[in-house]
Amino acid sequence: MKKNEFNIVDFVKIYSEDKLALFFLINLIFILILVIFGPLFTLQNPYDLSQLNILDSLLPPLSQSYENNYFFLGTDDQGRDLLSAIIYGLRISLYVGILSVVISLIIGIILGVVSAYFGGIVDSFIMRVADMVLAMPSFLIALVLLSILGRGLENVVFALVMSQWATFARVIRSSALSEKEKDYFYSAKCLCLPQYRIVFGHLLPNCLPPIIVLSTINLAFAITLEASLSFLGVGLPITEPSIGLIISNGYEYIIVGKYWMSLYPGLFLLITVISINIFSDRLRILLNPRLNI
């Protein structure tokens, strides 16, 4: 792919040359379809307590429920149909992941570009704060924040955003700084274009490739992070389990041979994260941004 060229047809064509990457892209699309439309076909809404029955709990895969429905992947400790729970759980995990990445992205773009564009004290201040955040591993920031804020979707998203915005701001700033040295930027200044046009029309679109790649990497990271936090019991509310919380709930049952509660959601999570990672890896190769992360 030639530098700076973007054409969706060519892109798909070139992307497809790596069969493994193609396989996982299809996988990812399948997962997205499953997550978006899946709830239309699931046996139950696992988040609606009145649809659950504790008497159905801990059934192995392919068991029958009272209403003669099959639990293809078995049930969990609350009698949730595991397949339904996985679909809903992935949905909420992806939702949390995407939301947190989008919010961190917005914050990162604003701060990164402002920092690069204005330089000086503004830049120093923003970057010192970002450095401070980056000095702490994101997992620790999220853990501490959540143990203070308590469980809840908003809190998880907030914690993930707080631990991720700095990476975005840093990458966007450095890529904006290098774009700023390019002559088209000087030329835009020379033509007295208004600042917002220079920033949003010229600077930002050219910083996109690293941003796209970083976003996908961070999405996968955010999903794993949320799962880890849920595992430690500080993530999402228990009645609306994300995929991480489902695994965590089933964790204690692995050892007693009730493997399905952790194994299947674990595999689903793994496939999702791998798919996103392989996708982003392929993107990185094709878009060729040099990410120092």
Binding site: L49, L58, D77, G79, E252, G257
Partner: protein, 523 residues
């Protein structure tokens, strides 16, 4: 060549890795708790249990919550305020010094005077007005008010050696320097967060325990403990979750010791506030009335809960349904309270009668790291209550956060489990959790329950020296609370479960505390 090398390597490796320690006089315990070696520091259940190995009390409770004599040989109630204790003679501390009445006085004095102790054992001694030694082995204790429960209170007072401990700090205990008692075991080593080791006291006056050396491996994670047991790294496992019981039992060479504990779980219901914090209408808006103040609603809640399902499915059968706040057959258990009924239709009728045929919104709160399966029980209850039309939500949190909020009455429907073994009766739970809040009472009344008739019965019970009078007042109070007012919703009494290899036998204690002296070599 490489193949040959690999082969030798694997043979070699398997010889090394497969060699196992054989159970001898040494016992290895997997426990979730990190001990406090100082027996007067931080009054938490596990700490009190740990202190039993190195230190002894004047009087202790046995595995069935009965009073037994330890360092006090005998005692008598001189009058309502005065107690006389005859101490055991010839008992020696681990360092060889003699045990005398001075050590007891020192220990009682030390408890309230440890600086910065956030959870002091003070509540076990603060009713004591004075302690005097009439001779080296006779002690006279005077209480401020008539206090029938004094003997049980003294079971929470570990006796340390005055000559060693005087002037020492908690840190000196952790290092083993002054960890000197009269107990069956001596301090060996303590690596915080990792392990705690004790070794046998050869000069112990009483029955010597079966094991010479005991190592506690500290493993907070339940599944890891089970893995360690099944992998043969430990001999006995404290705090086995019910779901793991079949796995341990079914595996050859392992077994599970279990018994009903004295802990009963119930739900507090907010009967005090006119606007209960977590009660909403069906759209999630706050309500101007508190439906939980209506007895019919509380009855409906109780009727909607299928305790049998909780016991069989959530607790894997390792619990017993409860119809009051003490376990069935426990001292002060009232037979006049009817068995729980599970009847969804009747519950719906009661709801309709009270004017809530369409239900309302309610959140159940529970800790997630305190009782056996606490968070799962809360979810199951929410499921069941949603079947009578309530819009249920569940919120669980670490005990660290939970109990603070519970005490501030921040919840509408909340879970608690009370250990009745300490008093051996329902007195503590009734007086602390349901008596109207006032001096000395109701410090845990998180539902705001208040009934003067009930209060009166509790107060009379707590001042009674006669056991029959005592029990009758307690039964009466329980009947008012449950049968008449449904001021709380009892759930179940949990079991204590301990996993072991088949080389050892264990008798669990009713108060859920772990005790090494109860571990015996299997025949």
């Amino acid at each position: 060549m490489i193949k040959k090398f690999l082969k030798t390597f694997f043979v070699f490796a398997s010889i090394i890795f497969l060699s196992k320690s054989v159970l001898s006089d040494n016992l290895t315990v997997a426990t979730p708790h990190d001990p406090s070696v100082d027996p007067h520091w931080l009054y938490l259940g596990p700490n009190a249990a740990y202190s039993r190995y190195i230190f002894e009390r004047l009087i202790d409770r046995d595995e069935n919550a009965n009073i037994v004599a330890r360092l006090a040989e005998s005692w008598e109630n001189v009058d309502d305020l005065t107690w006389k204790f005859n101490l055991r003679k010839g008992v020696k501390f681990h360092d060889g010094s003699d045990f005398t009445a001075d050590d007891v006085i020192f220990s009682i004095d030390r408890i309230p005077n440890i600086p910065n102790n956030p959870a002091s054992y003070e509540s076990n001694v603060n009713m004591i007005d004075s302690v005097e030694a009439t001779d080296s082995h006779t002690l006279v204790v005077k209480t401020k008010n008539p206090y029938p429960l004094l003997l049980r209170r003294l079971s929470g007072v570990a006796i340390v050696s005055k000559s060693n401990v005087d002037g020492s700090t908690t840190e000196d205990f952790a290092s083993g320097k002054v960890a000197i008692g009269t107990g069956p075991y001596k301090f060996k080593s303590y690596t915080p967060g990792d392990n705690y080791q004790i070794t046998i006291n050869d000069n112990y006056w009483g029955t010597k325990p079966d094991f010479h050396d005991v190592t506690f491996k500290i493993m907070p994670d339940g599944a890891s403990r089970v893995a360690a047991l099944l992998a043969g790294d430990v001999d006995i496992l404290e705090g086995l979750s019910p779901s793991s019981v079949p796995a341990v039992e079914s595996k050859e060479g392992f077994k599970v010791a279990k018994r009903a504990s004295a802990r009963t779980l119930w739900l507090y219901v907010d009967t005090q506030n006119d606007n209960s914090p977590f009660v909403t209408d069906n759209d999630g808006n706050a309500m101007s009335v508190n439906p939980l103040k209506d007895k019919r609603v509380r009855k409906a809640l109780s009727l909607a809960i299928d305790r049998n399902a909780i016991v069989s499915k959530v607790m894997d059968g390792l619990a017993e349904e409860a119809n009051q706040v003490v376990p069935k057959g426990f001292f002060s258990y009232s037979e006049n309270i009817p068995e729980n009924e599970f009847n969804v239709n009747k519950a719906k009728e009661l709801m309709a009668e009270a004017g809530y045929a369409d239900g309302f919104g309610l959140t159940v709160h529970a800790p997630n790291d305190r009782y056996v399966n606490d968070d799962k029980i809360a979810q199951a209850i929410a499921q069941m209550l949603s079947k009578i039309g309530l819009k249920m939500q569940v919120e669980t949190m670490p005990k660290a956060v939970y109990f603070g909020r519970l005490n501030k009455q921040e919840f509408s429907l909340s879970m608690i489990g009370w250990d009745n073994a300490f008093t051996g009766s329902s007195l503590m739970s009734l007086s602390a959790a349901f008596h109207t809040k006032e001096e000395g009472y109701g410090s845990w009344n998180a539902g705001g329950y208040s009934n003067s008739e009930f209060d009166d019965a509790v107060e009379r019970a707590s001042a009674a020296f006669d056991m029959e009078v005592y029990e009758n007042y307690l039964k009466r109070a329980m009947e008012i609370l449950i049968a008449e007012d449904q001021g709380a919703i009892p759930l179940h009494s949990q079991f204590v479960t301990v996993g072991t290899t088949d080389k050892v036998d264990y008798t669990p204690r009713a108060d859920e505390a772990f005790e090494v002296m109860l571990v015996k070599k299997a025949n």
